[in-house]
Amino acid sequence: MNPSIREQFPILHQEINGHPLVYLDNAATSQKPRAVIEAVKHYYEWENSNVHRGVHTLGSRATDAYEGAREKVARFINAKSMEEIIFTRGTTTALNLVASSYARSVCGPGDEIVLTEMEHHSNLIPWQQAALAVGATLKYIPLQPDGTITLEDVENTISPRTKVVAIAYVSNVMGVVHPVKEIAAIAHRNGAVISIDGAQSTPHMKVDVQDLDCDFYALSGHKMCAPTGIGALYGKKALLNKMEPVEFGGEMINDVGLYESNWKELPWKFEGGTPIIAGAVGLGAAIDFLQDIGMDNIEQHESRLAAYAMNRLAEIEGFQLYGPRIREVGLITFNLGDVHPHDLATVLDAQGVAIRAGHHCCQPLMRWLQVSSTARASFYLYNTEEDVDRLISALIQTKEYFGDAT
């Protein structure tokens, strides 16, 4: 990866607690390149207005910027058309939309929603709530000891009663890439749809929703260099057309009467209220930035970095890895001897190294792993082998520190 990429992220060039920052919490949120920050600034300085209603020039500029961003998202994940892209606040809102609108209308008592135990809370609770509301049953695809799933188990879990299969493309804890294309085929054979949580996959690899043949795909902007508060839901047009909106108000209506109203066409019927215009503009700029570098290059860079990190981490005594030894994505969840992950994260922070510690919004998975919490280092395109070296030496110092302190 070209070292000049790092130069484009202003936040990375600062000291934290007297040490140059090493940011390894990218699975939580990524940092933003200057191009994205400038795009948002430019929008507010030259284009800001409300969309789809102003007759004036700024109204057209804002609408063009907002809808231009939608086109970029559609092309980025290879949707058939921009009508299939609904802007949301992020993955959580996108998945809630599918669970609240689609799942609740197609599921009845005894129908099934299939998940895995390793889903992020945002891809678990919406389905739980939908199942409780309509009397549907949740079923979980069993996990292998390393956190992977087998297609045989997928076949055995999905049945003709299954209406929705909800699964992450990439696990935010185990770093596993699930075979979602094959799972989609199994779901479809049983008459079910597949809804993919793309929060951890979209920033790091090429995604083609038509090739995957998925029915729904949710993504968050802030994990892929865009601002917080913007994300998107992809849905197949035929399904989205059948779905009812879950938010009602301005922007999303066609004709409003005193007792009944009807809705705009796709995608706007799902976007009640003034949308997140600047966020969408930032997401469009982030997509341009990532595509200039190339998603294949980003994916290769991260898997190389993960392999390098894995080799070095394995040398540390007491290093306990969660998930498979070979990583396709740059995300490593671990514990270090008896040191509690919070203590670990604090000692690392004192050395300028930012990692995540906790349950990673995966309490059921933590119970499955039989731990209360774990530490997680996650990489992105701007991380280097030097960052990994800093992580390693900070971990060694942590061991020494807690060894001496006892």
Binding site: G18, P341, H342, D343, H359, M366, S373, T406
Partner: protein, 143 residues
């Protein structure tokens, strides 16, 4: 950032050699509390007779700060009446705000003063004390 302000010897001693860790067969009050943001959890048991904390025990999972704080808290409140325990808890809140307060009753607690410089860790230190406050409320409601 001075890590040694956070991880003093006395804290590590309480972490590695916890006091009052365990369970009563017949605790009069049990309070289960967790910190949903990080997964730390504590189950605190108080034996209260005639308004006096006769004994206290806890079990739980958490970092060195949350578990050492539980160890110290249970040591500090044993033998005190509920009002004194409540007063200790509010003094602990002041300590977490960076105020200069003393714990003559149990000086080990003062070792946790350094947590104040680590805002992300204050919730670890206060978990056990929040459980205590809930326990006192529960006891007072019953009587």
């Amino acid at each position: 950032m001075q890590l040694d302000d956070l991880y003093r010897r006395v804290i590590m001693d309480h972490y590695k050699n916890p006091r009052n860790r365990g369970k009563f067969e017949d605790g009069t009050v049990t309070i289960d509390l967790n910190n949903p943001t990080c997964g730390d959890r504590i189950s605190l048991q108080l034996k209260v007779e005639d308004g006096i904390v006769k004994d206290a025990k806890y079990t739980g999972e958490g970092c060195s700060i949350s578990m050492s704080s539980a160890s110290m808290m249970t040591e500090a409140i044993k033998g005190r009446n509920l009002q004194e325990a409540e007063e200790l808890a509010s003094r602990f809140s002041s300590l977490m705000k960076g105020e200069a307060v003393e714990f003559e009753e149990y000086e080990d607690i003062e070792a946790l003063s350094g947590v104040n410089k680590f805002p992300a860790r204050i919730k670890c230190a206060t978990l056990a004390w929040n459980a205590l406050r809930k326990g006192i409320e529960g006891t007072e409601e019953k009587s």
